[in-house]
C-alpha cells in the first residue's frame, strides 16, 4: 500500500554528514557531562556523610562487615520461606482475583447472590489492614481448635495474604475489563458470539494485557508483605533478622534483610518494564516481514 515515492536509486534515508557529526558530538558530550556530574555528587555527599561525627557509630550499627558475614547466610536461608509463601500465594491470588472480578460483573438475576458475595468480599478485605487479617486468621482460627483444620502459622499467614491481595487484584482485573471499549463487545456479539464467548475470546485477553503492569506492581508489594507473616512466629527473613539483631544489639542483619528484598524487587520492576515494552513491540512489529 505504502508505495515509495522516492526516485529509483535514491536512498531510503539520508543524513547530512555534518549534521550527523554534530549530533554524535553532542550525544558524547551529554554523556560525559552527565557522568561527571553524578560522580561529583556521589563524592561530595559521601565525603560529607563520612565526615560527620556520628558516622562511625552509624557504620558500626548498620553496616558492620563481620556482623554482615555472620548473619547473611542465615537470612538467605530464612528468605526461602518468604519465597515459598510468595510462590504459593501468587497463583491463588490471580485465580481468586479473576473469579471475583468476573462475579462482580455478572448480569444474570439468578446469580445475584454470587455478585453480592464478591462485592462484600472486596469491600471487606480491601478495607481491613493486611496485618489485621493475618492476626485474625493466624491466631484466631487455631484458637477454635477445629478438627481437621490446620493450625500451622505459615498456612494461615499465607491464607491471609491471599484473601487480602485477592481483593486488590480483583479490582485491578475489573478495571482492566472496564478499559476494553464497549464497541468490542458489540462487534463480538454482532458476529454471533455468545456473551460467555465474547468475554473469553475478546474482552478478557485485552483486559489482562492492559493490567499486566499494575498486576506486577501488586506482586512486588506482595513479595515485601510476606514479611508480615513474621508476626505469627515462623522464622522467615525478617524474623531471623530480628533474632540476630536482638542477640547482638547490632542492626546490620536488618540491612541484610532489606538488601535481599531489594535484590528481588528490582529485577521484578525491570521485568515489568520489559514485559510492557515487548507487548508493544510484538503488536506493532508482527507481520512486517
Amino acid at each position: 500500500m505504502s508505495a515509495s515515492t522516492t526516485a529509483p536509486g535514491a536512498p531510503e534515508v539520508y543524513f547530512d554528514p555534518v549534521r550527523q557529526a554534530h549530533r554524535r558530538k553532542r550525544a558524547r558530550r551529554d554523556a560525559l557531562v552527565g557522568m561527571a556530574s553524578l560522580l561529583g555528587f556521589v563524592l561530595v555527599v559521601g565525603f560529607a556523610i563520612s565526615r560527620t561525627s556520628g558516622w562511625p557509630l552509624v557504620q558500626e550499627t548498620f553496616f558492620n562487615g563481620s556482623e554482615f558475614i555472620a548473619t547473611f547466610p542465615g537470612l538467605l536461608d530464612a528468605f526461602l520461606l518468604n519465597v515459598r509463601i510468595f510462590l504459593i500465594a501468587e497463583p491463588l491470588i490471580l485465580i481468586i482475583g479473576l473469579l471475583v472480578a468476573l462475579a462482580r460483573d455478572l448480569r444474570s438475576p439468578l446469580l445475584l447472590p454470587l455478585r453480592v458475595l464478591a462485592t462484600l468480599y472486596v469491600d471487606i478485605f480491601r478495607g481491613v489492614p493486611t496485618i489485621l487479617v493475618i492476626f485474625l486468621l493466624g491466631f484466631g482460627v487455631p484458637a477454635l481448635q477445629l478438627q481437621g483444620v490446620p493450625n500451622n502459622a505459615v498456612f494461615w499467614g499465607t491464607a491471609a495474604l491471599v484473601l487480602s491481595y485477592g481483593a486488590y487484584v480483583a479490582e485491578v482485573f475489573r478495571a482492566g475489563i472496564g478499559s476494553v471499549h464497549s464497541s468490542q463487545r458489540m462487534a463480538a456479539r454482532s458476529l454471533g458470539l455468545t456473551s460467555l464467548q465474547t468475554s473469553r475470546y475478546v474482552i478478557l485477553p485485552q483486559a489482562v494485557r492492559n493490567v499486566v503492569p499494575p498486576l506486577l506492581n501488586d506482586f512486588i508489594s506482595l513479595q515485601k508483605d510476606t514479611a508480615l507473616v513474621s508476626v505469627l512466629g515462623p522464622i522467615e527473613v525478617l524474623r531471623q533478622a530480628q533474632i540476630d539483631a536482638s542477640s547482638t544489639f547490632n542492626y546490620t542483619a536488618y540491612v541484610g534483610a532489606a538488601l535481599i528484598f531489594i535484590a528481588l524487587t528490582i529485577p521484578m520492576t525491570r521485568f515489568a518494564d520489559w514485559v510492557q515494552a515487548r507487548m508493544r513491540k510484538r503488536r506493532t512489529m508482527a507481520g512486517t516481514a
Partner: protein
C-alpha cells in the same frame, strides 16, 4: 410474488424520552440492495442496530425470511446475529488478534467448524478482497480502508443472509473510501442482500436498487435512485438532497 427477506413493520425506538424511530416500515427483497439516506439523527443507524438485535425495539416487528421474529421475546439473538452481518463505522476489529484470527474466530466458535476449514475459507475471502498479504498482521498495522475491508470479510465469514453497513466509509480518509465501496459493489454483484446507511450519494445512485430517505424516524420517500435523486416528491427530500449534493 416478491421474495421478502426482511420485513420491518411499525418499529418504534426511543432513547430516554426521544423517539428515534417512529413506526417505521420497510421491507427488503432477497438480493436487493437498499441504501438509507437522511440527515444525522434521522434513525439510520438505530434502524440497522434494531435489525440485528443490538438494540431492542419498543414496538413493532422485524421478521427475517418470514420465519424468524427478530423482535420476539423468546428469540435467541445469537441465532439472529449469525444470519445477519453488520459492519460499523469504526471497524471494531479485535486488536489482540491477527487479521486471520479476527476472521476465523466466529466461524470456529459459533459454527464449530474446524480450524483448517475456517482458515481456507478466510484466506479465500481475504484473497477476494485483496487482503491475503495482511492475514498475519495485527489490526494496528492496517490502513483504515484495509481495516474496514477486514471487518467486511469478518462479517462475511459467517455467511450471512443479510448484510448491514452502518456508514462504513464515514471514518475513512477520502482516498480510501473507494476501495471499501468497491468491496460493497462486489458483494452486491454477488447477489447478497444488503442495507446500507451512507452519505456517499454517488455510490448510492450507482449501486442501490432502492433508495430510502429517512426523516424523523420514518421512511419519508423511497424509490429507484433515478426517481429519488432525479425527481424527489417530498419537500424534505429536496431540501436534504440540495444540501448534500451542492
Amino acid at each position: 410474488m416478491t421474495d421478502t427477506l426482511i420485513d420491518i413493520s411499525g418499529v418504534w425506538k426511543a432513547f430516554d424520552d426521544h423517539s428515534v424511530l417512529r413506526g417505521l416500515d420497510l421491507s427488503v427483497d432477497r438480493h436487493e440492495a437498499v441504501v438509507l439516506i437522511g440527515a444525522s439523527g434521522s434513525g439510520k443507524s438505530t434502524l440497522l442496530r434494531c435489525v440485528n438485535g443490538l438494540e431492542n425495539v419498543d414496538a413493532g416487528h422485524i421478521t427475517l425470511d418470514g420465519n424468524l421474529d427478530v423482535t420476539g421475546f423468546k428469540t435467541d439473538m445469537d441465532v439472529v446475529r449469525r444470519r445477519i452481518g453488520i459492519v460499523f463505522q469504526s471497524y471494531n476489529l479485535f486488536p489482540h488478534m491477527t487479521v486471520l484470527d479476527n476472521v476465523t474466530l466466529s466461524p470456529r466458535k459459533v459454527l464449530k467448524r474446524s480450524a483448517a476449514e475456517c482458515r481456507d475459507q478466510a484466506m479465500t475471502l481475504l484473497q477476494r478482497f485483496g487482503l491475503a498479504a495482511k492475514a498475519s498482521d495485527y489490526p494496528d498495522r492496517l490502513s483504515g480502508g484495509q481495516a474496514q475491508r477486514v471487518a467486511i470479510v469478518r462479517a462475511l465469514a459467517m455467511e450471512p443472509e443479510l448484510m448491514l453497513f452502518d456508514e462504513i466509509t464515514s471514518a475513512l480518509d477520502p482516498l480510501l473510501v473507494g476501495e471499501v465501496l468497491d468491496a460493497v459493489r462486489e458483494l452486491k454483484e454477488g447477489g447478497l442482500t444488503l442495507i446500507m446507511a451512507t452519505h456517499e450519494m454517488g455510490f448510492a445512485r450507482e449501486v442501490a436498487d432502492r433508495v430510502c430517505f429517512l426523516d424523523a424516524g420514518v421512511v419519508l420517500e423511497q424509490g429507484t435512485p433515478a426517481a429519488v435523486f432525479g425527481s424527489p416528491q417530498e419537500e424534505k427530500t429536496k431540501e436534504f438532497l440540495a444540501r448534500i449534493l451542492k
